[in-house]
């Protein structure tokens, strides 16, 4: 006879994957991201184009040049050099000319001043590129050596050689594929799975079906079944996303800015095992807190409010990401690597960057194991106290007294 947790797991899994909203969320998530990127990219290009057109359609642009750098060769319509700054400025104000570019003696420190009409938010900055380009092109024109001119205008290729501990490091985007997947998996777990789990426990309590269930299934079997059911949901989601990513990469092969050599995807067993460990422990800690919260309060709505604290804490490291990237082994990164809820993400990230010291990796295994044990303890205790307490919250006094 099958273990009862298997039936719980099956129900929890099917309950989610049979809903259209699950597939909509899973399928439309990447489509949404791609669509947003395309729309944003297109809008940006269209906006730049409209700015360029607006600038090009100018009838008259006055140039007040104290430096003498601006080449006379460029002073053709619509440009016109002026000597009287105040008069030119008045012309701008009176809408007689479209813009006035002022190149002061010390423009390198002070910058270039552009005076133009305010025609709404889209008029901001439309002449800036032209003003900069004018001075750059003039400098290039002043160079005598054709080689120097070629060097100035060429699209130069840069080859970067990096050293790590005195040895040339072999940087490749492929080495981040596996750890990158684990970071994505962690985000799916935090964003989707834990909310399903919260609903699942709240539903049984709110609908008062929990007592019938507990007369048939042990609390541990019930919780384990729910956890594993959600893990199944996450893997379904992950494999679907990976499949979509694979199709996407196939379709866009050759047209991507970065080419990935899949045959050289680095399988670093230690890094992968650590990534799996951090993902699993991060999920378990958060999932256990969801069980505890759902058990402690009488309704799903209240559970949602309380649980958001833990979800925000788990994704909070995103706010520190630039500091972590700048100094992946610094004090902030180290502190967050051992703080409950932030630890899994930071450790995953540092692991992906290859910036996790061995001693910290070992210590993190013990610390995260302790957090998992602690969260299981809280979840079971709260479940025991609160699962059959209908209509009121479990007080902290009762929790600590129990």
């Amino acid at each position: 006879m099958k273990n009862k947790f298997w039936f719980v797991m099956k129900r929890e899994y099917l309950k989610v994957v049979k809903t259209p909203s699950f597939w909509l969320a899973t399928l439309f998530f990447p489509i949404f991201i791609v669509a947003i990127s395309l729309v944003s990219g297109y809008s940006g290009a269209a906006f730049e184009e409209s700015l360029r057109e607006a600038a090009e359609s100018a009838d008259k642009i006055a140039i007040y040049d104290e430096t003498g750098i601006i080449s006379e060769d460029f002073i053709v319509e619509p440009f016109e050099k002026v000597d009287d700054f105040e008069a030119a400025l008045s012309s701008v104000k009176d809408e007689e000319i479209d813009a006035l570019f002022v190149y002061q003696e010390n423009f390198i420190e002070e910058g270039i001043n552009v005076y133009a009409q305010d025609k709404g938010i889209f008029s901001i900055g439309i002449f800036n590129e032209i003003a900069i380009s004018l001075v750059r092109q003039s400098i290039i024109m002043s160079l005598d050596d054709p080689q120097q001119i070629t060097a100035m205008v060429a699209d130069l290729r840069v080859e970067e050689i990096l050293y790590e501990d005195g040895i040339e490091s072999d940087f490749a985007i492929e080495q981040f594929i596996i750890p990158g997947i684990s970071v994505a998996l962690y985000f799916i777990l935090v964003a989707f799975s834990t909310s399903y789990l919260l609903f699942s426990v709240s539903e049984e309590k709110e609908n008062r079906v929990i007592e019938t269930v507990l007369s048939i299934v042990k609390p541990r079997e019930l919780i384990l079944g729910k956890l594993l059911g959600q893990v199944g949901v996450v893997f379904t989601q992950l494999f679907t996303l990976l499949f979509l990513a694979f199709i996407g990469l196939r379709l866009t092969e050759g047209s991507m800015p970065i080419e990935i050599d899949w045959s050289s995807v680095e399988i670093n067993l230690g890094q992968i095992l650590l990534a799996v460990f951090y993902t699993a422990t991060g999920f378990l800690v958060l999932a256990n807190m969801m069980i505890a919260v759902a058990s402690a309060v009488p309704s799903y709505k209240e559970a949602q409010s309380f649980s958001s604290v833990f979800v925000i804490a788990s994704i909070a490291p995103v706010w520190f990401i630039m500091s972590i990237v700048a100094d992946p082994s610094g004090t902030l990164a180290t502190i967050l690597s051992f703080t409950p809820f932030t630890a899994p993400f930071i450790l995953l990230f540092r692991n992906a960057l290859g910036e996790l010291e061995t001693i910290q990796a070992i210590l993190s295994i013990f610390v995260l194991s302790f957090y998992v044990w602690g969260s299981f303890y809280i979840a079971f205790k709260m479940f025991e106290l609160g699962s059959l307490q209908f209509g009121k919250n479990v007080s902290l006094r009762k929790f600590f007294k129990f």
Partner: protein
């Protein structure tokens, strides 16, 4: 079938059950009575391992409850509910699976049951779309899907409409006739009197009454006179103690007084007798008497 020995349980320093012992024999219908908050639900939850006992032994078939026994058990809790977002048939087969039935068997049984209770067309409906009475039928189906040998029912008729109350009684008696043992808590004394073989009445966490129902009723006196009358009934006499309500009274003869003496006394005092009936006290009367008094067995 069930044996509870020296069971005690407290919540927040309040002793709810105090050294309680009783047995439920195989094939028996056992009524577990008590006022609200007397500890009936606590006992049933402890028996099913949902609560841990502070002390004592709670055994089913000689062993502490384990979820393996749940395959033989049907439990209907007082706080009952269903997965409102799930479909009727899915919910029933899920509980069937949990109680050890195969998917096929639990599906077959569920479909037959739904047909029987007139809900065959609702099999693929979400439970939240069913009426409260229809949900009660599903709840009962889940309780008995495994043809339980032991039924534990906490206030089974609470909140049931008359149709579902009759359905419940019919199903319980059907299972009892097939050999099932039934332990149930209730406030409905008329129902208890109709079906129970034995009773236990809880008061202050202890058994105030425990034993065979008929024996208990006998112990509370067979010689109660139920009287309907016209006129003025003498209340303080050497013949009886009277509880009077308008034109009806319950007379309990004092020691050594015969019924005929009371009858003669009433006639002599111009009481017009419409009905003079000798009977045992009802369970309701015993329950009220016990609840009000400090009587302890």
């Amino acid at each position: 079938m069930i044996s509870i020995k020296n069971f005690s349980k407290s919540f927040d320093n309040l002793k709810v059950i105090d050294d309680l012992s009783f047995d439920v024999k195989k094939g028996e219908i056992f009524a577990y009575l008590g006022a609200n908050g007397s500890g009936k639900t606590t006992t049933l939850r402890a028996l099913l391992g949902i609560y841990a006992a502070d002390s004592g032994e709670l055994l089913i078939k000689g062993k502490p409850y384990s979820t393996e026994i749940s395959n033989l058990l049907g439990y209907l809790p007082e706080e009952r509910g269903l997965y409102l977002e799930s479909k009727v048939l899915d919910t029933m087969t899920y509980f069937g699976n949990l109680k050890g039935l195969t998917l096929l068997d639990s599906k077959k049984w569920s479909e037959k049951y739904l047909e029987e209770v007139g809900l065959a067309d609702k099999a693929n409906e979400k439970i939240k779309n069913l009426s409260s009475g229809q949900q009660q039928k599903i709840q009962l189906g889940i309780t008995i899907i495994n043809k339980p040998k032991l039924l534990i029912l906490d206030e089974p008729t609470k909140g049931l409409d008359p149709v579902n109350r009759d359905l419940l009684m019919e199903k319980l008696l059907e299972l009892h006739s097939e050999g099932a043992t039934i332990l149930f808590s209730s406030h409905q004394m008329e129902e208890v009197e109709k079906i129970a073989d034995s009773v236990l009445m809880l008061k202050d966490g202890k058994a105030a009454l425990y034993g065979d129902l008929e024996e208990i009723k006998k112990s509370f006196g067979e010689n109660i006179i139920k009287l309907r009358f016209r006129g003025r009934l003498p209340r303080k006499t050497k013949f009886y103690e009277a509880k009077v309500e308008k034109n009806t009274a319950q007379l309990i003869p004092k020691d050594g007084v015969k019924n005929n003496d009371i009858l003669k006394f009433l006639i002599k005092n111009d009481v017009k007798i419409i009905n003079f009936d000798l009977s045992s006290p009802s369970l309701h009367e015993i329950f009220v008497q016990i609840s009000k008094s400090d009587y302890e067995k």
